[in-house]
Symmetry: C2
Subunit: 389 residues, 2 copies
């Protein structure tokens, strides 16, 4: 159901001709009433933020954080496309606004795909109208939207959580350039909960921090990352704590699906760093480990080479004492007090052979901890990314 699960939203997806393959490349999510609703958003920190990110931020400012509609396109990121790119993004919003009879600034835009190629506006803008005819509020409509935002994704990503008196649904895309502080990922969340904008922003920011920002596949921070949360309010007031749990749960589900679908990855690594001087230091240490090519290669080869893990913990710029550190794979301690520990090699080997692998590091210095989701590095990633053609 995803974005159509909550009351008050319609969605669809189809092809407007951006992708030369003719595959589905535009999704629309809009309020059933045509009225604007409260929106929260988090965006990339990349200083080369793409045209759609600039336009969406501008529209949210102009409306006081309200919107009726989101258009999401795939196949061209409309990034590094200059002033013309901004005009193109605004034109896409305006075209949708005319068709749906809503104000142009009430339409937000997300785009994903290749960077630096002018968006083919003239060749595609005519393709929007037929897609807009297919808006619906059923499961099929939600799936059409989720499929239309895929780029190198191998499956569409949707999630729904039903609360005691409300629903939260989401769709997302993302398979590479994933790093904390957002990634080449788009996520559109809808809910029928009636939540004030200020609460919506706080809840979304915390949920993103606990989910997407704990996911690191290749360390790249993309130009287009956007998470939007639209609240129709049709389900009335909700318990904010329960609502926050639901939003976080949906975001976590999306982040895990992105890790599952990471380009060329054969394994999902659940990384835990404990015993750091602070949570921040634990996070920095986890990030350094997750970002290490050598550690990623070891996972690809199913090799519990803990020496590389210790080396990365020791260069993370955090408090570290080699004589205290321990490392465990799947619960089996292989390094204790900074040196090799005798262990059941077969047990570790069996764990490393699984698709989901757990790596736990304990700095034994304090009570700071962090978790992170990452993946291995194999030939597939290189094959996917060596050329754009």
């Amino acid at each position: 159901m995803s974005v159509t699960a909550a009351k008050g939203f319609r969605a669809t997806g189809g092809s407007m001709g951006i992708k030369p393959t003719g595959k589905s490349d535009v999704a629309i999510v809009t309020t059933a009433s045509g009225k604007p609703v409260a929106v929260a958003g988090t965006f990339t920190t990349n200083k080369a933020a793409a045209a759609p990110v600039q336009v969406t931020k501008r529209h949210l400012e102009a409306t006081g954080h309200q919107a009726t509609t989101v258009i999401l396109t795939s196949g061209n990121a409309n990034a590094a496309t200059g002033a013309e790119g901004v005009v193109h993004a605004m034109e896409l919003c305006a075209t949708v606004a005319r068709a749906l009879e809503v104000p142009p600034t009430s339409v937000l835009i997300c785009q994903t795909g290749l960077i630096g190629i002018p968006f083919p506006l003239e060749a595609t803008i005519g393709g929007l109208a037929p897609v807009l005819q297919t808006l619906g509020n059923d499961e099929d409509a939600g799936t059409r939207a989720a499929e239309a935002i895929m780029t190198t994704d191998t499956f569409d990503k949707q999630a729904t959580v039903v609360g005691s008196n409300f629903t939260v649904g989401a769709m997302a895309k993302g398979a590479a350039m994933l790093a904390p502080n957002m990634a080449t990922m788009l996520c559109c969340i809808t809910t029928d909960a009636d939540v004030a904008h200020v609460d919506l922003e706080r809840i979304l920011r915390r949920a993103v921090e606990q989910s997407f920002n704990r996911l690191l596949t290749d360390g790249a921070v993309s130009t287009n990352d956007t998470v939007l949360l639209l609240a129709s309010g049709e389900a009335g007031h909700v318990d904010l704590q329960e609502f926050e749990q639901a939003v976080t749960s949906v975001c976590l589900d999306m982040a895990e699906k992105m890790a599952e679908d990471a380009e060329g990855a054969t394994k999902v690594i659940h990384l835990i760093v404990k015993g750091a001087a602070s949570d921040e230091e634990a996070h920095a240490a986890a990030r350094n480990v997750a970002d290490s090519l050598l550690v990623k290669c070891s996972f690809n080869g199913e090799d519990p080479y803990w020496g590389r893990v210790v080396s990365e913990l020791a260069t993370a710029g955090v408090a570290f004492d080699i004589d205290r550190v321990s490392v465990a794979y799947g619960g089996t301690v292989v390094c204790e007090a900074g040196i090799a520990k005798t262990h059941d090699v077969e047990v570790v080997k069996a764990h490393m052979a699984q698709r989901h692998v757990t790596l736990e590091c304990n700095l034994n210095l304090g009570i700071g901890s962090a978790t992170m989701l990452t993946v291995d590095l194999g030939h597939g990633y290189i094959d996917e990314n060596r050329t754009t053609s």
Copy 2:
């Protein structure tokens, strides 16, 4: 000639049985006189610095930065080996000292290889004496030493610069875990120039900054990095400026050979960032580009995908204005003022197909600039690093 080129040094290399293959795994560099000479050293910033790094630093402190001898072993890093590792490193120094009849603290030690495996002291210590019998001061002796420090290196790395009245020679190893602020690299430099320790330290630090610290292959900072510069003084006083140029030139030569020999790399990338707010910001931007898996994959695929380069410049945490940035491959500008620039595609294609590729980024904000040497990311790197067996 390398380490035996300068007057006053003898060297050799051979097998003491660390490598199961029986390949050469220990090098000795020592003063011909048996007398201690001035030494400068730079070391890894990794907080899990290996036993040999700890012992070498301790010996340099004890002697007031003087040494007679350096022992360098390959095949086992003696890192993450705890207190026992330190005892083993000291024992290696002591054994060499007894054989050469010099004080144990006048012997420095460098080790490289796998991390976290106890050093096989008992099984190998007896192999030292026969190797020490083969010390010589000719070219063969220097080459034997250079060959004995190779791990995944595919060729031995040596350089010599002859000044107006002095000589500087060096040998080095390093093929992976190369990142600014030192790398899994060992470099031993000898000179017959008579230079005070304080000048030696300053000159070495600046030379390392301009060479090894500008080389980034896989972003890992190793546990064992060491550069040592020994000055016998036998050639007498020298012009310090000429001497600094010679040391820098030798270090640059070694850094370039490491890039040439980077594990699994098919291309050497000469990266230039100009127009930054400061040299430091240019360096940070260059590092972010050089560290990008996506940029490295593009080079592997010979794809001038400048959008990824711009995205990395924009996330380097430095002053950046997308509307000013330009990017050129081999001198051909492909992005100007932040957007695609029409260019001769065939010329860029031909440049990308070469082994040495130049990527020049201009932020057009200030006069800060930096250069960096990096490599592409291909299947070979993964194949080399996925398992240790």
